[in-house]
């Protein structure tokens, strides 16, 4: 690829060693990418660069920013949107969807069991020490029965594709999964960028996600004309853009903890006309922070009394507090067994092979093979607290081994996975970059998954860390009709 020429060609496009989502073995373009590739070649380099440029500007003027933690000034950054879409065939999507539905049903049964009968612990399928030692297991939730026994209403699992082209679940995000606003806004922008392709390719629509979300939230309360609020930590939170966006799209009130007051175990908003009752809260604050009278006392984000109102059934919280116990990274390796236990089925979507440092034989293996493993802290996320063995120094590895040995429960390890690659616009032309996939599932009376997702892309050459806080960008995800 050369910038100087206007011509786009894929003759030098590198695919060796990875599953490339556009070009298969022997350099053959996969069928679902064919039309798009033709369009690119016809368009030429200059036009493509121009489109990317106007996309950057559109993002800025929409204020699609996220705040970066640990930056003193709370710097706002744009999650870079690469205009080359990630395309998924209808067939691949349909099987992914089936696998996700199965997994989410099982995980909800698991959470409900853990906080009630604990059959799975008694049957010794999952070690009970692991559950009790999890920081996300909330004693306060024991004995609770949320409506329809659904705990996790909104899920955003991280899915990857390995060299074999199969989908794997890398992480279950069951607490406050973020990013869905980017799925929706990226689509709006790309519809302006490649209008004709949407029609020709029959890209499935994600447009109705907010409607489905609203219906789902309403279904959680018997009240007619439920009053719904999105609870945000506030505008300095990294996902604030999304909280505001969703509140607007839902026609819900965007509230902070300080806007709420609990009286007689009911939750009210403080308004210009007095106190107004709330029925359903779409909670975007970590469980620990929602109520300083029950959880963290130093939380300024929450509302005293909120948890008690929830416990009495006077307000619905989505997701329910306590779901984190099922997305603890130490529980993750047991998910296939969890599916088998509750549903009597084999997992349709495989896990990534995982070593549990709390188990002696696995610990030994991890210590001996750390240089080709990815080690993760079980209670961390966002790309923090991890070691990528093959890209680390001997010193870093030694330091990590010490940390693991001092608290094995806190670590798991996985082989380094060659995340699949998707063509991406770079300074040097179009090159493959590693991606993951985060679809969003909504669970009220039944599970609904809109055919789309946030595709995160590691923009740095060779990098496999796709997190926005670590230099990742995003792509629109096109699920084709067939």
């Amino acid at each position: 690829m050369r910038n100087t020429l206007n011509k786009i060609s894929f003759s030098a496009y590198e695919t060796k060693g990875f599953h490339d989502e556009m070009i298969g073995e022997n350099g053959v373009v996969r069928p679902h990418y064919q039309l798009f590739r033709e369009r690119l070649i016809k368009m030429g380099w200059k036009k493509l660069k121009n489109l990317q440029h106007s996309t950057d500007r559109a993002q800025l003027s929409l204020g699609m920013t996220f705040n970066v933690y640990s930056d003193n000034e709370g710097v706002e950054r744009i999650l870079h949107l690469d205009i080359i879409p990630r395309i998924i065939s209808g067939k691949d999507w349909d099987s992914l969807e089936k696998g996700l539905v199965q997994r989410i049903i099982a995980l909800n049964l698991f959470i409900d069991d853990i906080y009630n009968d604990q059959k799975i612990l008694k049957d010794k399928i999952v070690p009970k020490e692991l559950v009790y030692s999890s920081a996300t297991f909330l004693n306060q939730c024991v004995g609770l029965k949320p409506p329809e026994k659904v705990w996790c209403h909104i899920t955003g699992s991280d899915i990857i594709r390995d060299n074999d082209g199969r989908f794997y679940v890398l992480e279950d995000n069951l607490r406050c999964p973020s990013g869905v606003s980017y799925m929706l806004e990226n689509r709006e922008i790309l519809k302006r960028t490649f209008p004709e392709l949407f029609e020709k390719l029959k890209v499935r629509t994600v447009y109705n996600y907010p409607h489905i979300l609203r219906d789902m939230l309403e279904s959680l309360t018997p009240k007619q004309e439920a009053s719904i609020a999105v609870l945000t930590p506030g505008m300095y939170n990294s996902a604030y853009f999304e909280h505001a966006y969703l509140a607007q799209q839902l026609g819900a009130e965007l509230v902070e903890g300080r806007d709420l007051v609990v009286k007689n175990d009911f939750v009210y908003m403080i308004t210009t006309k007095g106190l107004k009752k709330i029925d359903v809260i779409y909670k975007r604050i970590d469980d620990d922070f929602i109520d300083p009278s029950v959880f963290r006392k130093d939380s300024y984000l929450g509302t005293p009394g909120l948890f008690n109102a929830y416990r009495k059934g006077n307000v619905v919280l989505a997701n329910a507090p306590g779901t984190g116990v099922a997305d603890d990274k130490a529980i993750y390796p047991y998910v296939p067994k969890i599916i088998k236990y509750y549903l009597g089925e084999e997992a349709l979507l495989p896990n990534v092979n995982t070593y549990i440092c709390a188990e002696d034989s696995d610990l030994k293996y991890v210590v001996e093979n750390i240089h080709h493993l990815v080690v993760k802290q079980t209670d961390a996320s966002g790309g923090y607290g991890m070691l990528i063995g093959p890209k680390s120094t001997k010193e870093e590895q030694k330091k990590f081994i010490r940390k693991i040995k001092s608290n094995p429960r806190n670590y798991i390890a996985q082989p380094m996975i060659n995340l699949s690659r998707v063509p991406t616009l770079t300074d040097k032309g179009i090159e493959g970059r590693h991606v993951d996939l985060r679809p969003y599932a909504l669970y009220g009376k039944e599970i609904k998954i809109v055919p789309g997702a946030l595709t995160r892309v590691a923009l740095k050459k060779g990098s496999i860390v796709v997190n926005s806080s670590q230099g990742g960008g995003s792509k629109d995800t096109w699920v084709l009709d067939n």
């Binding site: 800025l60 003027s61 204020g63 009130e253 300080r258 403080i270 210009t272 007095g274 106190l275």
Partner: protein, 325 residues
């Protein structure tokens, strides 16, 4: 609506109005400086004084000149009221209440934000002629008013915004009028001189009132200009029309309330009546400067009462009034 949100919208609109006024003041004053001899360093001081931040200015700057004054009023992040800070604050507020406003409103505020940030980067105050920059800010704010009026439903949120805007505008017109008090003429005989008239017409332009004033009165005389800016019922920036508009919005907000107990309505009503029943001679017998000072104080207490009635969490919780629907 959420009381925090109401307050945020109220201030968002005040900040935008303030930014627009500052942009216009600087544009007009720059123009004026071209018509007067360049050694008049007193040219910029009155503007800073009437902004109410002269003490802060003195603590930050040793002397006053064109570029320093423009920097202070326009771009200094240490001046809480600088045009730059007003726009940044307006955007922060808009972000905090993002679901209340339309995408068009948000995009325009965002545009202004990046534009003023760019102005800081390019050090606009050092430019030979920064007028186009101020005009662009002014137009950007005016475009925003139009977008607010044409895309936001006229519900509580809009009225809180409008009320904020009108209170800010009334305050700014009263301050501009006060500039004349601080613009010293060389001798008492200079009253009515060409220099004096240059001042007065600049003052009218500072509140976009020159054309409409000319239509209404024709001849430039200090008493009629003063009368126009304080009492005119038709000109949208006169202090009186601003209060009339603010009162309309407050009435829309307080619809169905027991009015006798609402101190915000009472204070605003009293201040508006004062303008309705006063005459220009009353102003001059009190002294223009004193009259305007008093007006600004009373306007502040209106703002304070709006806070007490609608924004203060403590007061609302004490009232313990539950909405049923």
């Amino acid at each position: 609506m959420l009381s925090r949100v109401a307050e945020t919208i109220y201030w968002m609109n005040r900040y935008i109005e303030r930014a627009e006024n500052y942009a216009r003041f600087m544009d007009v004053n720059f123009n004026l400086s071209l018509e007067l001899s360049p050694d008049l360093e007193e040219q910029w001081k009155p503007l800073v004084v009437t902004s109410g931040d002269w003490d802060l200015y003195k603590s930050l700057n040793k002397k006053i000149d064109k570029s320093k004054a423009i920097h202070f009023l326009g771009f200094d992040i240490r001046n809480p009221n600088s045009m730059h800070n007003c726009i940044v604050n307006a955007r922060e507020n808009a972000r905090a209440i993002r679901p209340e406003i339309t995408r068009e409103v948000w995009e325009q505020i965002n545009y202004l934000y990046y534009f003023v940030k760019d102005g800081v980067k390019k050090k606009m105050w050092e430019r030979v002629d920064p007028r186009n920059f101020f005009i662009e800010i002014k137009k950007g704010c005016q475009l925003l008013y139009g977008i607010l009026d044409s895309t936001i439903s006229k519900t509580e949120a809009w009225h809180f915004g409008k009320m904020g805007q009108m209170i800010e505008r009334a305050d700014k017109t009263s301050r501009v009028l006060d500039v004349k008090y601080h613009m010293l003429l060389p001798t008492p005989e200079a009253i009515g001189s060409p220099l004096d008239l240059v001042h007065w017409s600049a003052l009218l332009k500072s509140v976009s009132a020159y054309d409409m004033y000319r239509k209404a009165y024709g001849k430039l005389t200090p008493p009629t200009i003063t009368e126009f800016l304080i009492f005119d019922l038709n000109f949208p920036r006169s202090m009186r029309s601003c209060l009339v508009a603010a009162e309309q919005s407050l009435q829309a907000i307080s619809f169905n309330e027991t009015l006798s107990t609402n101190r915000a309505i009472k204070q605003l009503g009293i201040l508006k009546s004062q303008l309705e029943y006063a005459e220009i001679n009353d102003v001059f017998s009190t002294g223009l400067h004193e009259y305007l000072d008093d007006f600004q104080l009373k306007l502040n207490s209106v703002s304070q009462e709006i806070y007490n009635v609608y924004f203060s969490k403590e007061n609302i919780l004490n009232d313990n009034h539950f909405i049923t629907n």
